[in-house]
């Protein structure tokens, strides 16, 4: 399977897992937010999958996906996840031959989100999943792991990051207003991003296990 198709498969898997978890995500967002996170992520990935065909590189697939996502989803997560996918795609040109190439792109995408959201790890957002994931991926990649191996090994850090949001006080987004009231519930964005990373990992593992 070529990398463009593999990337498209990862995005298909993202849609599946988001649809499966939509109610849970809606619930998490209703505790301190406005309850639309599940619907928004689903709308975004539905549009991504619908816009999928006709790209020749992984970068192109992701850049297109980012635009489709952001336009369809709306909301904070539409802007942020859309920006993430788009930046990731624009920083991946041609064939990816080394795991480190992806690390550079992951870092750029993460920075774009930080800039757009004026936020950082610890603010109880999706960055609390993304930042530790990217760090762990980078470490594994520099230690010589393959892309798939590095990705899979970084999921543990992503999960721990996601779970850590439960004990954080929200500093960004709608829920920030609620301060202490946001304690005790996992951040919806951190949760959905973890599910997506995990679903992509499953695809990589079965189609590109090297």
């Amino acid at each position: 399977m070529n990398q463009a198709d593999l990337t498209a498969r990862c995005l298909d898997a993202a849609l599946s897992v988001i649809l499966e978890k939509e109610t849970e995500l809606a619930y998490l967002d209703s505790v301190a937010g406005d309850g639309d996170h599940g619907a928004g992520m689903a709308r975004g990935f539905r549009a991504v999958v619908a816009s999928g065909a006709g790209s020749s590189t992984a970068g192109e697939v992701l850049a297109k996906a980012g635009m489709a996502f952001s336009n369809a989803a709306g909301g904070s997560s539409g802007a942020l996840v859309g920006m993430y996918l788009m930046t990731l795609g624009m920083n991946l040109s041609g064939e990816i031959t080394r795991a480190a190439q992806l690390h550079t792109a992951l870092l750029k995408a993460q920075e774009a989100v930080m800039k757009l959201g004026k936020s950082q790890a610890g603010d109880k957002t999706l960055l609390d999943t993304l930042v530790p994931f990217t760090t762990a991926y980078g470490e594994a990649a520099s230690a010589g792991a393959s892309l798939t191996a590095a990705w899979l090994s970084a999921l543990g850090a992503a999960r721990a990051g996601m779970e850590s949001t439960r004990d954080m006080i929200s500093k960004r987004g709608r829920s920030a207003v609620l301060k202490e009231r946001s304690l005790g519930t996992q951040d919806p964005g951190a949760t959905s991003v973890y599910y997506v990373l995990q679903a992509a990992g499953d695809v990589l593992q079965s189609h590109c296990p090297q």
């Binding site: 406005d34 639309d36 952001s70 336009n71 802007a79 709608r174």
Partner: protein
């Protein structure tokens, strides 16, 4: 509970369709975008005011589009900011060549999406300004970080009236900022609301309790209290706003007692009866009070008080004629 819908996935589109069909005498759909504009489109040479945000707040946002009010509105899914792409398309449609003001409540999703659209439009050479509404005193002690709630109505009215009379982009923007700086709101909720197709309300409130400092999007309040009488609620809301009077405020204020959807007019009048007495006793001249539903949150139970402290110019803009699906004055 939201009960009237078909497939929840089609809700926004069908809502927009019905809205446009009903009010085609005043507004028209923006082609290929999730928004509406004043019938016949923008007037060349006039500043365009594009308001917008998530759905579920009617008459925000489309209901306030028309002569003397907003030039257009970009409308997102229920409680979800419209995307940057939609903001961009609607901005292009309402552009009259004299610059655009984006006006919306201060929510991170809206800020991100409208700001991305602004960047893109600026790259194309358009002059775009952003006026954020930050009237909700409950949401932060830092004025600039506050959310926008029912104060949207007054800020948009001032912007629209200024643009409509032909003010320059600088002037429209400055007046919009002044309107926002002079506007304060505080609200309470008695019960949550349900997004179409979802089985559970966004939050629930025990029958003998209420939430203080609610948002417009079904977010719970910042604090829970026992259920108060109308007079106590009135005292709470008036006191909150009188302890946060903006600098430079006079003694006259435009008043909006806003119902969120399921707290009804009769209740709002009982509330206003006491508010009027308190405001008068505090030496405040209430200017053309409005009691009604101007910024809803689906069928949420709750209400808020908004004051916009008036000077001569803001008052003239409040008084300026307007004709929209949900608001007419002459």
């Amino acid at each position: 509970m939201t009960k009237v819908f078909n497939n929840p996935l089609d809700f926004r589109e069908q809502m927009l369709d019905g809205f446009t069909a009903a009010y085609s005498r005043t507004i028209e759909r923006i082609r290929d975008a999730s928004g509406v504009m004043v019938r016949g489109g923008p007037t060349a040479g006039k500043v365009a005011v594009l308001i917008g945000g998530g759905g579920g707040h009617y008459p925000l946002f489309g209901g306030l589009v028309g002569k003397g009010f907003a030039t257009g509105a970009v409308m997102g899914e229920i409680f979800t900011s419209p995307s940057a792409e939609q903001c961009y398309r609607c901005a292009k449609a309402v552009d009259g060549g004299a610059g655009i003001v984006f006006a919306y409540g201060n929510y991170s999703g809206d800020v991100m999406n409208f700001s991305m659209a602004t960047m893109r439009l600026k790259l194309e050479g358009l002059d775009v300004r952003q006026v954020l509404v930050t009237d909700d005193v409950a949401s932060s002690t830092d004025v600039d970080s506050r959310r926008g709630v029912a104060g949207d109505f007054f800020v948009f009215k001032v912007l629209g009236a200024s643009a409509w009379r032909g003010d320059s982009l600088d002037t429209v923007e400055a007046l919009g900022r002044r309107a926002n700086a002079m506007t304060r709101s505080f609200g309470v909720a008695f019960g949550g609301c349900t997004v179409p197709g979802q089985g559970q309300p966004l939050f629930t409130v025990a029958p003998d309790q209420m939430e203080l400092g609610l948002g417009l999007h079904g977010e719970p309040g910042v604090e829970t209290s026992k259920l108060l009488t109308a007079q106590e609620v009135s005292g709470l809301l008036v006191d909150k706003l009188l302890s946060d009077i903006p600098r430079g405020a006079g003694t006259r204020a435009a008043v909006l007692v806003n119902g969120l959807g399921a707290t009804k007019y009769e209740e709002l009048f009982v509330l206003y009866s006491d508010m009027h007495r308190r405001l008068s006793a505090a030496g405040i001249e209430t200017y053309k009070p409005i009691v009604g539903e101007l910024a809803t949150s689906l069928n949420m139970e709750g209400c808020s008080l908004t004051l916009m402290w008036l000077d001569k110019e803001l008052q003239a803009l409040v008084d300026a004629p307007a004709e929209t699906p949900a608001w007419t004055n002459y």
